[in-house]
Symmetry: C2
Subunit: 348 residues, 2 copies
Amino acid sequence: MPEIPTTMKALIVKYDGYSGTSEGPAIERLSDWCELSEIEVPKPKGGQVLIKVGLANVNPSDLHYIKGEYGQPRRKGVPAGFEGMGEVVASGEDEAARKLIGQRVAVSASRGGSGVWAQYALTDARAVVPLHPKLRDEDAAALIVNPMTAWAMLDLVKKAGARAFVMTAGASQLGKLMATLSKEMELAAVATIRREEHRSLLEGLGVGTVLNTEREDFEDMLVMAMRQVQPTVLLDAVADSRSADIFAAMPGGARWVIYGKLSPQSPALPSLGQMVFMKKKIEGFWLSDWLATASPEARREAFEKVQERFVSGAWKTDVAAALSLPEAEEKLGEALSGLNRGKVLIRP
Amino acid sequence: MPEIPTTMKALIVKYDGYSGTSEGPAIERLSDWCELSEIEVPKPKGGQVLIKVGLANVNPSDLHYIKGEYGQPRRKGVPAGFEGMGEVVASGEDEAARKLIGQRVAVSASRGGSGVWAQYALTDARAVVPLHPKLRDEDAAALIVNPMTAWAMLDLVKKAGARAFVMTAGASQLGKLMATLSKEMELAAVATIRREEHRSLLEGLGVGTVLNTEREDFEDMLVMAMRQVQPTVLLDAVADSRSADIFAAMPGGARWVIYGKLSPQSPALPSLGQMVFMKKKIEGFWLSDWLATASPEARREAFEKVQERFVSGAWKTDVAAALSLPEAEEKLGEALSGLNRGKVLIRP
């Protein structure tokens, strides 16, 4: 095992706490929110592990966070980055943490740890997942946030007794994962897109109904699709007035499950009739809650199933770019502007 | 038993279906929506019963309905009126219906029947409740919609594991019923009012915290109250931006249960953080659903407990006026304008 240096390069957060704004997950320059610094390599204690980061992911939640618009307050001076992969190189004294040393793992950040947009990251042993030897680094770096969300949300759809669901932002990485998973789980999917060129991609993955929210005939197509497919769960990454239109067109008993906010728009609360007479419900989904409340067995099963799908080739993380830390500071905003072409990763 | 005439006087609905408007439950003149007519007395079949109406209630849902803004389409030419009391004078051939003949009952309208703003009303045997002999006619006429809603919603609060709740429109009849019930059930209540003179009334009924939404210091008082009382269910008859403010100020895990829409305003959907990170939920409550899905035992228990409270004097229906059918056609709008002084009833 190579020696661990005293200092490391990291993209650290520039501000503390919440910004009070609500602009959504878009940035022009990363340097507005993070700066590349040489800081001390953190030391793991107790149940913590230190990971030499191989590849780090960039998710909308990272952008929400560095802008001070996420559900957790920013910690100034601490590296950003919620998700990545690497090798465990040190641990605290706990047995479960020590056992992980030398293992190749997927990493998610934990409270009290430090982010993965850095050469080394500190997290809880419970927040890392040992990897299948055949899993590619690119897939490993994006193993938790999107695939586990896809898994957990379709699990929710199934447990709700639904036979069909709607997903917004269908052409996103998460949308594509849910598309293939829905086919396996025999759930009928309706996906929304904003550009016509994404239609054939989703249809190819098995999505039965693709609706373009930007087309003039959207509302007619929506009403027809909802009548035919009768989806009863809306998995929503956008939460704008289009989402509200979809929810309103869904049959009685429908659930609107909000898990992201790609739009800064605030739609109006649905009408009384929707909530009272049609028994519709609105709720949120947060992977961290799911992971925190799922049983160890359910977690293990989910991680295994998710990795199997990547190893078999059913799932694949499309990568648009892999930037070094200095490159990321300079041109991450630009690289992200073509989000649907694939993931932008950081290679510290 | 007196003979049943062939025709009767009734306030019949003037229009069919939905209006597409959303103005809320206020009317200027009843004659804009209903007209007094001489129509045939309906004949009960199967499980139906015919009631000679003693007193009929006027609820916000009746006004929503006659205006075409309710969850059920209007039926032109059929008497309006969802709730009242009277005597069962005829029945269809079903045993359960026949057993009710001669009984004094509370009535709620049923699909396929006819409303109680008429000398006779047709409904399902399942939609009538035999009355305690000591229950006053005024209390019987308002036995189902408000008292059963109060009972069923506080049952929901209790089953949600909440120790405290918020109710909007606290000075309404329903609010007063929930106030006394919350005291018995040892639930801490926060009530909103719009006029300062209602404060002492609610405090007298045992409401620990009364917030005036029209006062300039409302938002400060709200934040303080939510911190102190930590209510986790919002029982909401208003669904305006004040309700949204209350929901936003409530602790994590809070449920916004909408059961009425006194305001025509549409507030914005709560923020992502509220739904996702704070695990809040929005849903509706409709008594008809509760009655349709509750077990016969749960229904019976609820009706007994509710009647006991009126007989003992713990609950009381305050009556502002009792109008004949011609008087109602002419001046119901006017009589309703002072809603919080008490119920307006119709005596056909």
